[in-house]
């Protein structure tokens, strides 16, 4: 029942042409199939992304968008810190900590590097121990333990406050800021601060008469009395010498005599020196101390 059309004499052949058949088989071969369904779309996407990123403007725009988004998230009120609380610091240290931390509140907790903050606080000389943590209620809490001042080290200008281990705490210009602390001086004296403290403790009975300690030649101590007298202690076992002075003082009031230098450097041969200048005056050059 073939329909014969006037214009189309040949009936349509349902069979694919050889070329078409080969092409369809080629398209179905595994590599081409994968290439068409995955490779080609991926290629298009990759190329369009590359083209987009060729333009610096687009990169900048994307960066802005990304950082905006980031800030929006981290600056949510849940993550914000409003205040800094410092525990265990004196007023001056408090101010120093605030300065060294250098944060402008409110700040997001994401922008905070607690470890680095901790390092920074610890790097302050007066701080012995420090803790930094975030506390509920949007507060950055810093807890410090200060070093206790034990000695004053006289420098060319002003004084250094030292802890009992000789650690530097701060510099002061006036002795009056720490009237109760004893003064030491001499090159390398800060390294043997604990010896000085021991000497002060042994000499505590006369502590109101002591002006300070001088570390001589980086090996031994001189006690300078307020009266200008000098007690030269030996390098080894200065405590025995101190005991001797105290005993002598108790028995003979030796310290209140007109003696310029008590030379205990050789324990077996104690030497006392009479002042050479005017009455009651010391010649400091003779004892190697410049005040």
């Amino acid at each position: 029942m073939q329909q014969i059309s006037f214009f189309k004499f040949r009936k349509h052949d349902p069979a694919p042409s050889r070329l078409r058949y080969k092409f369809s088989r080629w398209m179905l071969s595994p590599f081409i199939k994968k290439a068409v369904f995955f490779g080609f779309p991926l290629f298009i996407i990759a190329v369009s992304i590359l083209i987009y990123f060729q333009d610096q403007k687009n990169i900048k725009y994307l960066e802005e968008v990304a950082s905006d988004l980031y800030r929006k998230v981290i600056e949510r009120p849940e993550f914000m810190l409003d205040a800094l609380s410092i525990e265990g610091a004196s007023d001056s240290l408090n101010a120093e900590i605030r300065q060294v931390i250098g944060l402008n509140f409110p700040i997001s907790s994401f922008d905070l590097d607690l470890a680095e903050l901790h390092e920074r606080v610890l790097s302050l000389p007066p701080v012995k121990l420090a803790e930094a943590h975030l506390r509920g209620g949007r507060i950055l809490h810093i807890k410090v333990v200060e070093k206790t001042p034990a000695l004053l080290l006289k420098k060319e200008f002003g004084f250094d406050v030292l802890s009992k281990h000789g650690e530097y705490i701060r510099s002061i210009s006036l002795r009056e800021e720490f009237p109760h602390l004893q003064v030491i001086t001499g090159q390398g004296a800060e390294n043997v601060a604990s010896e000085a403290i021991a000497i002060f403790e042994a000499f505590y009975k006369k502590s109101d008469q002591v002006r300070g300690l001088v570390f001589v030649g980086q090996r031994r101590w001189n006690i300078i009395m307020k009266s200008g007298q000098v007690v030269m202690l030996p390098e080894n076992n200065p405590h025995q010498a101190i005991q001797k002075i105290l005993i002598l003082d108790k028995a003979e009031q030796i310290l209140s005599r007109q003696i310029a230098v008590f030379d205990f450097r050789l324990p077996s041969r104690i030497t006392l020196r009479i002042p050479s200048g005017k009455h009651g005056q010391m010649k400091f050059e003779s004892i190697g101390v410049r005040n």
Partner: protein
């Protein structure tokens, strides 16, 4: 003969390569239609138990991923008469099946229905040297079969060992590992015209495909339609196709006879076309929609309009009764069935213990064919439908696709044939190997 042996071996190698790749097409080039299924082997094959039957009768392990059925062109009586036309039809089927499967297929297993197949029974016998039968002995006994003098221009399509006998025992399916002295084999050999298979191979090659196996259409439709018991006890499968009617006889699970009759459903259509003076497409439609074989009183009153487009109103607007149609169809079908009866008789079908006859193929769908076949072929006739295989579309599950389904089963589990056994190597036997070993031992 050796050339064919090698080409069949090459096809077997191709088949295993295709299975390794996982996709293979089966192609049934029939007279009225060309069917193509694309099978995917996913390696989940079930272990076959001792009976040789898995839980799904060997249908597991593969599924149909693409299918196509198209009208056949350029084929008459199962043989290609116009190569370009047939090539186009194969191309049509394959392209749509590939499109459905969404995968390319390179290997094809095809079946041939024409080519006047001829069956031979072969016998071979050897003495076994090593007492225990092994693969080499099987190859030897298969090689010892006396090849009958078939005409030149024919090729061996199947050569299947059917029965092994060891000394006095017979009926052995697999004598390997058994102890005996005399091994003999019965082999069934099927030859067809060389030209038929060459034409088909050429058409498939023109479609850029490799032929990975050929089977006889009679054999494969029986594979899908017969159940195990019928194959075991003896049965004949009659595939009533479009151009040819294929007969195969099974006994003891093996095909022992195959034959093709060159009368089929298209002759019936031609009869109707001639008898009613209508175009063959109309005749085909009338046959499939209103056809029948047993006329009753009701059929006299059932009128069929026959519309045609000749332009002559009187001729175009005719009405016939169904009885008229039955009157045209019945004699032809009777003739086919009688021819089948004759062929079965001459093949010695009567001697089988069970004489079950299974009708399948497109023409077995005519209403009333079972009662007609009962009268001609005997009482043990049933209508067969192909087995189900995984994901086979509904449209392919009818008896007209028995060959296609059987071909799928054949692709999945081919029967061992003669060329599956490699013969003993003559010039490089064990002795020379031991001599080489001794030489190495002495000199190193």
């Amino acid at each position: 003969m050796t050339e064919l042996y090698h080409s069949q071996r090459a096809m077997r190698a191709m088949r295993s390569a295709a299975l390794q790749r996982g996709v293979v097409a089966v192609l049934d080039v029939g007279t009225s239609k060309i069917g193509c299924l694309i099978l995917k082997f996913d390696g989940t094959e079930e272990k076959i138990d001792g009976d040789g039957v898995g839980s799904l009768a060997g249908q597991s392990g593969f599924q149909v991923i693409g299918s196509a059925l198209t009208k056949s062109r350029g084929i008459e009586y199962g043989e290609i008469v116009s190569m370009p036309e047939t090539e186009r039809a194969i191309r049509t089927a394959l392209q749509s099946a590939q499109k459905l499967a969404n995968s390319r297929v390179d290997h094809v297993i095809a079946c041939v229905s024409g080519g006047s197949p001829r069956s031979y029974g072969l016998e071979g016998r050897i003495d076994i040297k090593s007492e225990i039968v092994d693969d080499k002995d099987i190859a030897d006994v298969l090689g010892s079969c006396g090849i009958p003098a078939y005409e030149s221009g024919r090729e061996v399509l199947h050569a299947q060992p059917v029965n092994f006998s060891l000394d006095n025992r017979t009926g052995l399916a697999d004598p390997r590992g058994q102890i005996g002295k005399n091994l003999s084999v019965d082999m069934h050999m099927l030859t067809i015209k060389e030209k038929t298979i060459q034409d088909l191979g050429y058409c498939i090659k023109r479609c850029d495909l490799e032929l990975a196996g050929v089977a006889s259409s009679s054999y494969v439709s029986a594979l899908s339609s017969l159940v195990e018991d019928e194959k075991e006890l003896g049965a004949a499968c009659i595939d009533l196709g479009g151009g040819t009617t294929n007969i195969s006889i099974f006994w003891k699970k093996h095909m022992i006879f195959a034959e093709t009759i060159k009368i089929g459903g298209e002759i019936v259509t031609r009869d109707i076309s001639v008898g009613l003076q209508v175009p063959s497409s109309t005749a085909e439609r009338v046959k499939t929609r209103n056809g029948g074989l047993v006329a009753t009183g009701l059929d006299d009153r059932e009128m069929i309009e026959i519309a045609s487009e000749t332009g002559d109103w009187e001729l175009d607007r005719r009405i016939i009764s169904r009885s008229d149609l039955i009157g045209i169809m019945r004699p032809r079908i009777e003739e086919i069935l009688e021819e089948v009866r004759y062929r079965l008789n001459s093949a010695g079908f009567d001697d089988l213990p069970s004489q079950k006859i299974i009708l399948t193929g497109g023409a077995s769908q005519v209403p009333g064919i079972d009662s007609l076949a009962n009268k001609i072929l005997g009482q043990q006739v049933r209508l067969g439908r192909p087995m189900r295989i995984h994901r086979l579309p509904q449209a392919y599950s009818g008896p007209n696709c028995a060959g296609l389904v059987g071909l799928s089963l054949f692709a999945a589990h081919p029967q061992d044939e003669w060329w599956d056994f490699s013969p003993r190597s003559k010039n490089f036997n064990g002795q020379s190997v031991s001599r080489v070993f001794r030489w190495f031992k002495d000199n190193w």
